[in-house]
Protein backbone atom coordinates (compact mmCIF):
# COMPACT_ATOMS: atom_id res chain seq x y z
CA UNK A 1 0.00 0.00 0.00
CA UNK A 2 1.34 3.41 -0.93
CA UNK A 3 1.08 6.43 1.38
CA UNK A 4 -1.90 8.24 -0.13
CA UNK A 5 -4.03 5.08 -0.12
CA UNK A 6 -3.38 4.25 3.51
CA UNK A 7 -4.86 7.62 4.58
CA UNK A 8 -8.31 6.61 3.30
CA UNK A 9 -8.48 3.38 5.28
CA UNK A 10 -11.48 2.55 7.39
CA UNK A 11 -10.98 1.40 10.99
CA UNK A 12 -11.85 -2.16 9.96
CA UNK A 13 -9.13 -2.19 7.31
CA UNK A 14 -6.66 -0.79 9.79
CA UNK A 15 -7.50 -3.56 12.24
CA UNK A 16 -7.04 -6.19 9.49
CA UNK A 17 -3.67 -4.68 8.58
CA UNK A 18 -2.66 -4.80 12.20
CA UNK A 19 -3.68 -8.44 12.57
CA UNK A 20 -1.90 -9.49 9.40
CA UNK A 21 1.18 -7.57 10.54
CA UNK A 22 1.14 -9.38 13.88
CA UNK A 23 0.62 -12.75 12.18
CA UNK A 24 3.09 -12.37 9.35
CA UNK A 25 5.55 -9.63 10.24
CA UNK A 26 7.32 -11.57 12.95
CA UNK A 27 10.53 -13.66 13.13
CA UNK A 28 8.76 -17.04 13.41
CA UNK A 29 6.55 -16.52 10.32
CA UNK A 30 9.51 -15.25 8.34
CA UNK A 31 11.70 -18.16 9.45
CA UNK A 32 9.14 -20.55 7.94
CA UNK A 33 7.99 -18.70 4.82
CA UNK A 34 11.16 -16.58 4.23
CA UNK A 35 9.07 -13.67 2.94
CA UNK A 36 6.61 -11.43 4.74
CA UNK A 37 2.97 -11.04 3.73
CA UNK A 38 2.88 -10.78 -0.08
CA UNK A 39 1.34 -7.32 -0.22
CA UNK A 40 3.43 -5.80 -3.02
CA UNK A 41 4.24 -7.14 -6.48
CA UNK A 42 7.87 -7.61 -5.47
CA UNK A 43 6.90 -9.64 -2.42
CA UNK A 44 4.44 -11.66 -4.49
CA UNK A 45 7.22 -12.60 -6.85
CA UNK A 46 9.48 -13.36 -3.89
CA UNK A 47 6.91 -15.61 -2.24
CA UNK A 48 6.74 -17.79 -5.36
CA UNK A 49 10.51 -17.96 -5.77
CA UNK A 50 11.45 -18.54 -2.16
CA UNK A 51 8.98 -21.29 -1.33
CA UNK A 52 9.91 -24.89 -2.07
CA UNK A 53 6.38 -25.85 -3.12
CA UNK A 54 5.51 -22.65 -4.98
CA UNK A 55 8.80 -22.68 -6.84
CA UNK A 56 7.31 -25.19 -9.27
CA UNK A 57 5.19 -22.33 -10.64
CA UNK A 58 6.56 -19.31 -12.51
CA UNK A 59 6.47 -15.95 -10.72
CA UNK A 60 4.30 -14.54 -13.47
CA UNK A 61 1.90 -16.26 -15.83
CA UNK A 62 0.33 -15.21 -19.08
CA UNK A 63 -3.36 -14.53 -18.65
CA UNK A 64 -4.29 -17.43 -20.93
CA UNK A 65 -2.78 -19.83 -18.39
CA UNK A 66 -5.57 -18.88 -15.97
CA UNK A 67 -8.47 -19.41 -18.34
CA UNK A 68 -10.43 -22.52 -17.44
CA UNK A 69 -12.06 -22.66 -20.86
CA UNK A 70 -8.59 -23.12 -22.30
CA UNK A 71 -7.00 -25.65 -19.95
CA UNK A 72 -10.08 -27.25 -18.33
CA UNK A 73 -7.71 -27.55 -15.33
CA UNK A 74 -7.53 -31.24 -16.20
CA UNK A 75 -3.80 -31.78 -15.65
CA UNK A 76 -4.02 -30.16 -12.23
CA UNK A 77 -7.14 -32.16 -11.35
CA UNK A 78 -5.37 -35.38 -12.35
CA UNK A 79 -2.43 -34.57 -10.08
CA UNK A 80 -4.65 -33.48 -7.21
CA UNK A 81 -6.63 -36.73 -7.47
CA UNK A 82 -3.32 -38.59 -7.41
CA UNK A 83 -2.46 -36.79 -4.14
CA UNK A 84 -5.91 -37.59 -2.68
CA UNK A 85 -5.49 -41.22 -3.75
CA UNK A 86 -2.08 -41.37 -2.05
CA UNK A 87 -3.55 -39.94 1.15
CA UNK A 88 -6.62 -42.20 1.26
CA UNK A 89 -4.53 -45.14 0.03
CA UNK A 90 -2.03 -44.83 2.89
CA UNK A 91 -4.91 -44.72 5.38
CA UNK A 92 -6.50 -47.78 3.76
CA UNK A 93 -3.19 -49.63 4.09
CA UNK A 94 -3.53 -49.43 7.89
CA UNK A 95 -6.60 -51.66 7.73
CA UNK A 96 -6.06 -53.81 4.67
CA UNK A 97 -3.97 -56.99 4.50
CA UNK A 98 -3.44 -58.54 1.03
CA UNK A 99 -4.09 -62.10 2.12
CA UNK A 100 -6.53 -64.44 0.43
CA UNK A 101 -8.64 -65.12 3.52
CA UNK A 102 -8.43 -61.63 5.05
CA UNK A 103 -8.67 -59.19 2.16
CA UNK A 104 -12.42 -59.45 1.60
CA UNK A 105 -13.17 -59.38 5.33
CA UNK A 106 -11.07 -56.23 5.64
CA UNK A 107 -13.39 -54.67 3.03
CA UNK A 108 -16.38 -55.57 5.21
CA UNK A 109 -14.61 -54.16 8.26
CA UNK A 110 -13.94 -50.92 6.40
CA UNK A 111 -17.62 -50.66 5.61
CA UNK A 112 -19.09 -51.60 8.98
CA UNK A 113 -16.43 -51.30 11.72
CA UNK A 114 -13.73 -48.75 10.89
CA UNK A 115 -14.70 -45.14 11.75
CA UNK A 116 -15.14 -43.29 8.44
CA UNK A 117 -14.01 -46.48 6.67
CA UNK A 118 -16.90 -46.26 4.21
CA UNK A 119 -16.07 -42.72 3.18
CA UNK A 120 -12.38 -43.60 2.96
CA UNK A 121 -12.91 -46.49 0.55
CA UNK A 122 -15.60 -44.66 -1.42
CA UNK A 123 -13.30 -41.66 -1.88
CA UNK A 124 -10.43 -43.89 -3.00
CA UNK A 125 -12.61 -45.74 -5.48
CA UNK A 126 -14.33 -42.73 -7.06
CA UNK A 127 -11.14 -40.69 -7.13
CA UNK A 128 -9.49 -43.55 -9.03
CA UNK A 129 -12.23 -43.55 -11.68
CA UNK A 130 -12.04 -39.76 -11.73
CA UNK A 131 -8.30 -39.81 -12.31
CA UNK A 132 -8.62 -42.17 -15.29
CA UNK A 133 -11.28 -39.90 -16.78
CA UNK A 134 -9.35 -36.70 -16.00
CA UNK A 135 -6.14 -37.99 -17.57
CA UNK A 136 -8.05 -38.90 -20.75
CA UNK A 137 -9.69 -35.47 -20.89
CA UNK A 138 -6.30 -33.85 -20.25
CA UNK A 139 -4.87 -35.72 -23.23
CA UNK A 140 -7.78 -34.56 -25.41
CA UNK A 141 -7.31 -30.95 -24.31
CA UNK A 142 -3.58 -31.08 -25.07
CA UNK A 143 -4.29 -32.59 -28.47
CA UNK A 144 -7.02 -30.14 -29.50
CA UNK A 145 -4.92 -27.13 -28.54
CA UNK A 146 -1.90 -28.60 -30.36
CA UNK A 147 0.12 -28.27 -27.17
CA UNK A 148 2.20 -31.36 -27.95
CA UNK A 149 4.08 -29.55 -30.68
CA UNK A 150 7.64 -28.23 -30.46
CA UNK A 151 9.19 -27.85 -27.95
CA UNK A 152 6.87 -30.16 -26.02
CA UNK A 153 6.99 -33.33 -28.16
CA UNK A 154 8.78 -35.44 -25.60
CA UNK A 155 6.57 -34.27 -22.76
CA UNK A 156 3.60 -35.62 -24.73
CA UNK A 157 5.39 -39.00 -24.89
CA UNK A 158 5.87 -38.89 -21.11
CA UNK A 159 2.20 -37.97 -20.82
CA UNK A 160 1.17 -41.05 -22.82
CA UNK A 161 3.29 -43.18 -20.46
CA UNK A 162 1.57 -41.50 -17.50
CA UNK A 163 -1.80 -42.38 -19.05
CA UNK A 164 -0.63 -46.00 -19.27
CA UNK A 165 0.58 -46.01 -15.65
CA UNK A 166 -2.70 -44.45 -14.47
CA UNK A 167 -4.59 -47.30 -16.15
CA UNK A 168 -2.24 -49.87 -14.62
CA UNK A 169 -2.59 -48.27 -11.16
CA UNK A 170 -6.36 -48.48 -11.41
CA UNK A 171 -6.23 -52.01 -12.80
CA UNK A 172 -3.94 -53.38 -10.05
CA UNK A 173 -6.20 -51.79 -7.45
CA UNK A 174 -9.22 -53.54 -8.96
CA UNK A 175 -8.15 -56.95 -7.62
CA UNK A 176 -7.42 -55.87 -4.03
CA UNK A 177 -10.99 -56.05 -2.58
CA UNK A 178 -10.88 -59.75 -3.53
CA UNK A 179 -14.54 -59.79 -4.54
CA UNK A 180 -16.11 -61.37 -7.60
CA UNK A 181 -16.07 -58.08 -9.52
CA UNK A 182 -12.33 -57.48 -9.25
CA UNK A 183 -11.35 -61.14 -9.37
CA UNK A 184 -13.01 -61.80 -12.69
CA UNK A 185 -12.17 -58.44 -14.21
CA UNK A 186 -8.50 -59.08 -13.50
CA UNK A 187 -8.87 -62.65 -14.77
CA UNK A 188 -10.25 -61.29 -18.05
CA UNK A 189 -7.53 -58.64 -18.21
CA UNK A 190 -4.59 -60.90 -17.48
CA UNK A 191 -5.86 -63.62 -19.82
CA UNK A 192 -5.19 -61.13 -22.61
CA UNK A 193 -1.48 -61.32 -21.72
CA UNK A 194 -1.45 -65.07 -22.40
CA UNK A 195 -2.38 -64.26 -26.00
CA UNK A 196 0.80 -62.23 -26.59
CA UNK A 197 2.71 -63.43 -29.64
CA UNK A 198 5.83 -65.45 -28.71
CA UNK A 199 5.67 -64.86 -24.93
CA UNK A 200 2.09 -65.92 -24.14
CA UNK A 201 1.15 -69.60 -24.05
CA UNK A 202 -1.96 -69.05 -26.17
CA UNK A 203 -0.35 -66.53 -28.53
CA UNK A 204 0.91 -67.15 -32.06
CA UNK A 205 4.39 -68.73 -32.36
CA UNK A 206 4.70 -69.49 -28.64
CA UNK A 207 6.17 -72.93 -29.46
CA UNK A 208 9.29 -71.27 -30.84
CA UNK A 209 10.41 -70.22 -27.37
CA UNK A 210 9.06 -73.28 -25.56
CA UNK A 211 6.48 -71.11 -23.79
CA UNK A 212 3.88 -73.02 -21.76
CA UNK A 213 1.18 -72.13 -19.28
CA UNK A 214 3.63 -72.19 -16.36
CA UNK A 215 6.41 -70.04 -17.83
CA UNK A 216 4.73 -67.44 -19.99
CA UNK A 217 4.21 -63.70 -19.53
CA UNK A 218 0.91 -64.18 -17.71
CA UNK A 219 2.57 -66.53 -15.23
CA UNK A 220 5.16 -63.84 -14.54
CA UNK A 221 2.47 -61.19 -14.00
CA UNK A 222 0.17 -63.11 -11.67
CA UNK A 223 2.66 -65.55 -10.13
CA UNK A 224 0.66 -68.65 -10.99
CA UNK A 225 -1.53 -70.24 -13.60
CA UNK A 226 -4.63 -68.58 -12.19
CA UNK A 227 -5.44 -65.56 -10.02
CA UNK A 228 -4.58 -66.61 -6.46
CA UNK A 229 -2.75 -65.40 -3.33
CA UNK A 230 0.44 -64.69 -5.31
CA UNK A 231 -1.46 -62.48 -7.75
CA UNK A 232 -3.03 -60.60 -4.82
CA UNK A 233 0.36 -59.79 -3.25
CA UNK A 234 1.81 -58.82 -6.62
CA UNK A 235 -1.14 -56.54 -7.39
CA UNK A 236 -0.77 -54.99 -3.91
CA UNK A 237 2.96 -54.30 -4.21
CA UNK A 238 2.67 -52.92 -7.75
CA UNK A 239 -0.35 -50.84 -6.72
CA UNK A 240 1.09 -49.36 -3.52
CA UNK A 241 4.83 -49.18 -4.24
CA UNK A 242 6.04 -50.07 -7.72
CA UNK A 243 3.79 -48.13 -10.07
CA UNK A 244 3.39 -45.02 -7.83
CA UNK A 245 7.21 -44.74 -7.66
CA UNK A 246 7.62 -44.92 -11.44
CA UNK A 247 4.63 -42.63 -12.01
CA UNK A 248 5.99 -40.09 -9.51
CA UNK A 249 9.35 -39.99 -11.29
CA UNK A 250 7.58 -39.45 -14.62
CA UNK A 251 5.36 -36.76 -13.07
CA UNK A 252 8.39 -34.92 -11.72
CA UNK A 253 9.82 -34.91 -15.22
CA UNK A 254 6.44 -33.95 -16.76
CA UNK A 255 6.01 -30.93 -14.47
CA UNK A 256 9.61 -29.84 -14.80
CA UNK A 257 9.28 -29.79 -18.57
CA UNK A 258 6.03 -27.78 -18.38
CA UNK A 259 7.84 -25.28 -16.16
CA UNK A 260 10.79 -25.05 -18.56
CA UNK A 261 8.74 -24.90 -21.77
CA UNK A 262 5.99 -22.70 -20.32
CA UNK A 263 2.24 -23.13 -20.60
CA UNK A 264 1.22 -23.43 -24.21
CA UNK A 265 -0.55 -20.26 -25.19
CA UNK A 266 -2.52 -18.63 -27.95
CA UNK A 267 -0.67 -17.89 -31.14
Amino acid sequence: MSEHQSQRKTPAQKTLDLISAILTDNPIYKSIFRTGYPSTLLKRMAVMRSSFYMHIFPTKVGEHGLRLRYSWCMGGITFFLFLLLTLTGVLLMFYYVPEEHRAFNDMKDLRFMVPFGVILRNMHRWAAHGMVLAVMLHMMRVFYTGSYKAPRQFNWVVGVLLLLFTLLLSFTGYLLPWDQLGFWAVTVGTNMASASPLVGYEGPFHELLGVQVDNDIRFAIIGGTRIGPNALVRAYVWHCVGIPLVATLLMVFHFWRIRKDGFSGPL
Binding site: K60, G65, L84, R125, F171, D179
Partner: protein, 269 residues
Protein backbone atom coordinates in the same frame (compact mmCIF):
# COMPACT_ATOMS: atom_id res chain seq x y z
CA UNK B 1 -7.59 -5.95 -26.98
CA UNK B 2 -3.86 -6.53 -26.62
CA UNK B 3 -4.42 -10.11 -27.66
CA UNK B 4 -6.21 -9.12 -30.87
CA UNK B 5 -3.42 -6.70 -31.74
CA UNK B 6 -0.78 -9.35 -31.16
CA UNK B 7 -2.75 -11.96 -33.04
CA UNK B 8 -2.85 -9.77 -36.14
CA UNK B 9 0.95 -9.71 -36.14
CA UNK B 10 1.94 -12.51 -38.51
CA UNK B 11 5.59 -12.87 -37.51
CA UNK B 12 4.91 -16.50 -36.48
CA UNK B 13 6.04 -16.26 -32.88
CA UNK B 14 3.78 -17.62 -30.22
CA UNK B 15 1.68 -14.87 -28.73
CA UNK B 16 2.78 -15.63 -25.20
CA UNK B 17 6.43 -15.12 -26.12
CA UNK B 18 5.87 -11.60 -27.47
CA UNK B 19 6.89 -8.74 -25.22
CA UNK B 20 3.48 -7.06 -25.00
CA UNK B 21 1.57 -10.13 -23.87
CA UNK B 22 -0.34 -9.48 -20.62
CA UNK B 23 1.12 -11.26 -17.63
CA UNK B 24 -0.01 -11.31 -14.02
CA UNK B 25 1.76 -12.37 -10.86
CA UNK B 26 1.21 -16.01 -9.95
CA UNK B 27 0.47 -15.02 -6.36
CA UNK B 28 -2.42 -14.73 -5.85
CA UNK B 29 -3.91 -15.15 -9.37
CA UNK B 30 -2.71 -18.65 -10.23
CA UNK B 31 -2.53 -19.91 -6.64
CA UNK B 32 -6.14 -18.84 -6.18
CA UNK B 33 -7.33 -20.84 -9.21
CA UNK B 34 -5.44 -23.90 -7.96
CA UNK B 35 -6.85 -23.52 -4.44
CA UNK B 36 -10.43 -23.21 -5.72
CA UNK B 37 -9.94 -26.21 -8.00
CA UNK B 38 -8.67 -28.30 -5.07
CA UNK B 39 -11.58 -27.18 -2.92
CA UNK B 40 -14.12 -27.94 -5.66
CA UNK B 41 -12.72 -31.41 -6.39
CA UNK B 42 -12.55 -32.26 -2.66
CA UNK B 43 -16.16 -31.22 -2.10
CA UNK B 44 -17.31 -33.02 -5.24
CA UNK B 45 -15.51 -36.22 -4.22
CA UNK B 46 -16.89 -36.00 -0.69
CA UNK B 47 -20.39 -35.54 -2.06
CA UNK B 48 -20.11 -38.49 -4.43
CA UNK B 49 -18.59 -40.66 -1.67
CA UNK B 50 -21.45 -39.85 0.68
CA UNK B 51 -24.07 -40.66 -1.95
CA UNK B 52 -22.63 -43.71 -3.72
CA UNK B 53 -21.02 -46.79 -2.25
CA UNK B 54 -17.95 -48.22 -3.91
CA UNK B 55 -19.05 -51.50 -5.48
CA UNK B 56 -18.34 -54.66 -3.52
CA UNK B 57 -19.71 -58.01 -4.65
CA UNK B 58 -19.50 -61.33 -2.86
CA UNK B 59 -16.14 -62.86 -2.03
CA UNK B 60 -13.99 -64.03 -4.93
CA UNK B 61 -14.53 -67.63 -5.84
CA UNK B 62 -12.74 -69.47 -8.58
CA UNK B 63 -15.56 -71.97 -9.13
CA UNK B 64 -18.25 -69.32 -9.70
CA UNK B 65 -17.71 -67.64 -13.03
CA UNK B 66 -20.05 -64.70 -13.50
CA UNK B 67 -21.64 -64.34 -16.91
CA UNK B 68 -20.52 -61.99 -18.28
CA UNK B 69 -17.18 -61.30 -16.55
CA UNK B 70 -16.34 -57.76 -17.50
CA UNK B 71 -13.00 -55.94 -17.44
CA UNK B 72 -12.84 -52.47 -15.80
CA UNK B 73 -14.60 -49.86 -17.95
CA UNK B 74 -11.43 -48.32 -19.38
CA UNK B 75 -10.34 -51.72 -20.75
CA UNK B 76 -13.79 -52.87 -21.81
CA UNK B 77 -13.32 -51.47 -25.31
CA UNK B 78 -10.58 -54.03 -25.82
CA UNK B 79 -12.82 -56.77 -24.45
CA UNK B 80 -15.54 -55.66 -26.85
CA UNK B 81 -13.04 -56.05 -29.70
CA UNK B 82 -12.71 -59.73 -28.73
CA UNK B 83 -15.99 -60.28 -30.56
CA UNK B 84 -14.28 -59.31 -33.79
CA UNK B 85 -10.66 -60.34 -33.26
CA UNK B 86 -8.62 -63.06 -31.60
CA UNK B 87 -7.14 -62.01 -28.24
CA UNK B 88 -3.62 -61.55 -29.57
CA UNK B 89 -4.91 -58.72 -31.79
CA UNK B 90 -7.64 -57.22 -29.57
CA UNK B 91 -5.74 -57.50 -26.28
CA UNK B 92 -2.11 -57.16 -27.25
CA UNK B 93 -1.36 -55.77 -30.72
CA UNK B 94 -4.05 -53.07 -30.95
CA UNK B 95 -3.50 -51.51 -27.48
CA UNK B 96 0.26 -51.48 -28.06
CA UNK B 97 -0.24 -49.90 -31.47
CA UNK B 98 -2.58 -47.30 -29.98
CA UNK B 99 0.07 -46.32 -27.41
CA UNK B 100 2.86 -46.23 -30.00
CA UNK B 101 0.64 -44.24 -32.37
CA UNK B 102 -0.19 -41.71 -29.66
CA UNK B 103 3.48 -41.27 -28.82
CA UNK B 104 4.34 -40.71 -32.49
CA UNK B 105 1.79 -37.89 -32.96
CA UNK B 106 4.17 -34.97 -32.23
CA UNK B 107 6.84 -36.39 -34.52
CA UNK B 108 4.66 -36.70 -37.61
CA UNK B 109 2.75 -33.43 -37.20
CA UNK B 110 3.96 -30.85 -39.69
CA UNK B 111 2.06 -27.76 -38.57
CA UNK B 112 4.29 -26.65 -35.69
CA UNK B 113 2.85 -23.14 -35.47
CA UNK B 114 -0.75 -24.28 -34.94
CA UNK B 115 -0.76 -24.45 -31.18
CA UNK B 116 -2.08 -22.80 -28.07
CA UNK B 117 -5.66 -22.42 -29.26
CA UNK B 118 -8.62 -24.51 -30.29
CA UNK B 119 -9.55 -24.54 -33.94
CA UNK B 120 -9.33 -27.01 -36.72
CA UNK B 121 -9.16 -24.99 -39.92
CA UNK B 122 -5.43 -25.61 -40.37
CA UNK B 123 -5.26 -29.14 -38.97
CA UNK B 124 -8.43 -30.74 -40.29
CA UNK B 125 -6.96 -34.17 -40.88
CA UNK B 126 -5.26 -34.43 -37.46
CA UNK B 127 -8.35 -33.32 -35.56
CA UNK B 128 -10.69 -35.56 -37.59
CA UNK B 129 -8.47 -38.62 -37.19
CA UNK B 130 -7.92 -38.13 -33.45
CA UNK B 131 -11.60 -37.37 -32.82
CA UNK B 132 -12.68 -40.45 -34.74
CA UNK B 133 -10.22 -42.57 -32.77
CA UNK B 134 -11.44 -41.23 -29.41
CA UNK B 135 -15.09 -41.59 -30.44
CA UNK B 136 -14.42 -45.17 -31.58
CA UNK B 137 -12.71 -45.93 -28.24
CA UNK B 138 -15.60 -44.52 -26.18
CA UNK B 139 -18.22 -46.14 -28.44
CA UNK B 140 -16.62 -49.55 -27.79
CA UNK B 141 -16.62 -48.79 -24.05
CA UNK B 142 -20.28 -47.75 -24.25
CA UNK B 143 -21.32 -50.92 -26.05
CA UNK B 144 -19.22 -53.20 -23.86
CA UNK B 145 -20.19 -51.62 -20.56
CA UNK B 146 -23.87 -50.88 -21.09
CA UNK B 147 -25.19 -52.95 -23.96
CA UNK B 148 -23.55 -56.31 -23.31
CA UNK B 149 -25.29 -58.83 -21.07
CA UNK B 150 -24.88 -62.53 -20.40
CA UNK B 151 -22.85 -64.45 -22.99
CA UNK B 152 -21.76 -61.06 -24.33
CA UNK B 153 -25.01 -60.65 -26.24
CA UNK B 154 -26.48 -57.24 -26.98
CA UNK B 155 -29.06 -56.23 -24.36
CA UNK B 156 -30.75 -53.05 -23.37
CA UNK B 157 -29.08 -51.57 -20.30
CA UNK B 158 -32.17 -51.11 -18.13
CA UNK B 159 -33.13 -54.80 -18.02
CA UNK B 160 -31.93 -56.67 -14.95
CA UNK B 161 -30.57 -60.10 -15.78
CA UNK B 162 -29.96 -62.96 -13.43
CA UNK B 163 -26.19 -63.33 -13.44
CA UNK B 164 -25.80 -66.08 -10.88
CA UNK B 165 -25.83 -69.06 -13.25
CA UNK B 166 -22.84 -70.47 -15.02
CA UNK B 167 -24.54 -70.24 -18.39
CA UNK B 168 -27.44 -68.09 -19.35
CA UNK B 169 -30.24 -69.10 -21.66
CA UNK B 170 -33.89 -68.16 -21.64
CA UNK B 171 -36.04 -71.22 -22.07
CA UNK B 172 -36.70 -71.96 -25.71
CA UNK B 173 -34.55 -69.07 -26.91
CA UNK B 174 -31.13 -70.10 -28.21
CA UNK B 175 -28.17 -67.84 -27.56
CA UNK B 176 -27.98 -65.52 -30.52
CA UNK B 177 -24.22 -65.57 -30.75
CA UNK B 178 -24.07 -69.35 -30.55
CA UNK B 179 -26.80 -69.68 -33.19
CA UNK B 180 -24.81 -67.66 -35.69
CA UNK B 181 -23.02 -69.57 -38.43
CA UNK B 182 -19.74 -67.78 -38.96
CA UNK B 183 -17.59 -68.41 -42.00
CA UNK B 184 -14.01 -67.54 -42.82
CA UNK B 185 -12.65 -66.43 -46.16
CA UNK B 186 -10.42 -68.85 -48.03
CA UNK B 187 -6.71 -68.21 -47.49
CA UNK B 188 -6.18 -66.96 -51.04
CA UNK B 189 -9.09 -64.51 -50.94
CA UNK B 190 -8.15 -63.31 -47.49
CA UNK B 191 -4.50 -62.69 -48.37
CA UNK B 192 -5.51 -60.89 -51.56
CA UNK B 193 -8.03 -58.78 -49.66
CA UNK B 194 -5.60 -57.83 -46.91
CA UNK B 195 -2.63 -57.08 -49.16
CA UNK B 196 -4.92 -55.30 -51.62
CA UNK B 197 -6.45 -53.17 -48.84
CA UNK B 198 -3.13 -52.02 -47.44
CA UNK B 199 -1.37 -51.45 -50.79
CA UNK B 200 -4.30 -49.61 -52.35
CA UNK B 201 -4.73 -47.66 -49.11
CA UNK B 202 -1.10 -46.64 -49.22
CA UNK B 203 -1.23 -45.26 -52.78
CA UNK B 204 -4.84 -44.05 -52.73
CA UNK B 205 -4.08 -40.43 -51.68
CA UNK B 206 -1.48 -40.14 -54.48
CA UNK B 207 -3.94 -41.58 -56.99
CA UNK B 208 -6.53 -39.04 -55.94
CA UNK B 209 -4.09 -36.18 -56.49
CA UNK B 210 -3.35 -37.48 -60.01
CA UNK B 211 -7.00 -38.12 -60.91
CA UNK B 212 -8.54 -34.84 -59.77
CA UNK B 213 -5.72 -32.29 -59.97
CA UNK B 214 -8.12 -29.35 -60.39
CA UNK B 215 -10.16 -29.67 -57.18
CA UNK B 216 -9.15 -27.25 -54.45
CA UNK B 217 -9.38 -29.86 -51.70
CA UNK B 218 -7.14 -32.20 -53.68
CA UNK B 219 -4.60 -29.43 -54.23
CA UNK B 220 -4.56 -28.92 -50.48
CA UNK B 221 -4.02 -32.66 -50.02
CA UNK B 222 -1.22 -32.61 -52.58
CA UNK B 223 0.58 -29.83 -50.72
CA UNK B 224 0.13 -31.69 -47.46
CA UNK B 225 1.55 -34.93 -48.88
CA UNK B 226 4.57 -33.13 -50.36
CA UNK B 227 5.31 -31.44 -47.06
CA UNK B 228 4.91 -34.67 -45.12
CA UNK B 229 7.57 -36.68 -46.94
CA UNK B 230 7.58 -40.42 -47.51
CA UNK B 231 8.67 -41.70 -44.08
CA UNK B 232 6.17 -39.64 -42.10
CA UNK B 233 3.51 -40.42 -44.70
CA UNK B 234 4.14 -44.15 -44.25
CA UNK B 235 3.90 -43.90 -40.45
CA UNK B 236 0.68 -41.86 -40.55
CA UNK B 237 -1.03 -43.82 -43.30
CA UNK B 238 -0.25 -47.24 -41.78
CA UNK B 239 -1.97 -46.11 -38.57
CA UNK B 240 -4.92 -44.70 -40.49
CA UNK B 241 -5.28 -47.95 -42.43
CA UNK B 242 -4.99 -50.00 -39.26
CA UNK B 243 -7.91 -48.09 -37.74
CA UNK B 244 -9.96 -48.33 -40.94
CA UNK B 245 -9.17 -52.07 -41.12
CA UNK B 246 -10.47 -52.51 -37.57
CA UNK B 247 -13.74 -50.83 -38.54
CA UNK B 248 -13.94 -52.87 -41.77
CA UNK B 249 -13.46 -56.12 -39.83
CA UNK B 250 -16.29 -55.15 -37.50
CA UNK B 251 -18.54 -54.48 -40.50
CA UNK B 252 -17.55 -57.81 -42.12
CA UNK B 253 -18.32 -59.67 -38.91
CA UNK B 254 -21.64 -57.94 -38.20
CA UNK B 255 -22.88 -57.61 -41.75
CA UNK B 256 -21.51 -60.71 -43.47
CA UNK B 257 -20.87 -63.16 -40.59
CA UNK B 258 -17.20 -63.43 -41.50
CA UNK B 259 -15.10 -64.70 -38.61
CA UNK B 260 -11.58 -64.63 -40.03
CA UNK B 261 -10.07 -62.99 -43.06
CA UNK B 262 -6.93 -65.08 -42.87
CA UNK B 263 -6.83 -68.46 -41.18
CA UNK B 264 -3.50 -70.21 -40.73
CA UNK B 265 -2.49 -72.95 -38.27
CA UNK B 266 -0.39 -70.38 -36.34
CA UNK B 267 -2.53 -67.28 -36.23
CA UNK B 268 -5.89 -66.01 -37.36
CA UNK B 269 -6.84 -62.51 -38.39
Amino acid sequence: MVEQELRSDKSGYMLMNKPGYPRVSSWPNLVWVIFLMMLFITILLWGVSFLAYAPLEEMAEWAKTPNPAKAPWYFIGLQELLVYFDPWIAGVMLPNQILIGLMLIPYVDITPAEQGHYGWSKRRFAVAYFTFGMAFWFALIFVGQLLRGPSWEVYWPIIDYDLTGHTWTREGVPLKQGALKLASLSTGTGMALLIGFFSIGMILPFMVTKLFPKSRMVQELDGYLKELGYIKYFVVQSHVLLMVATVVKIILRLGFNIKYIIETPWFKI
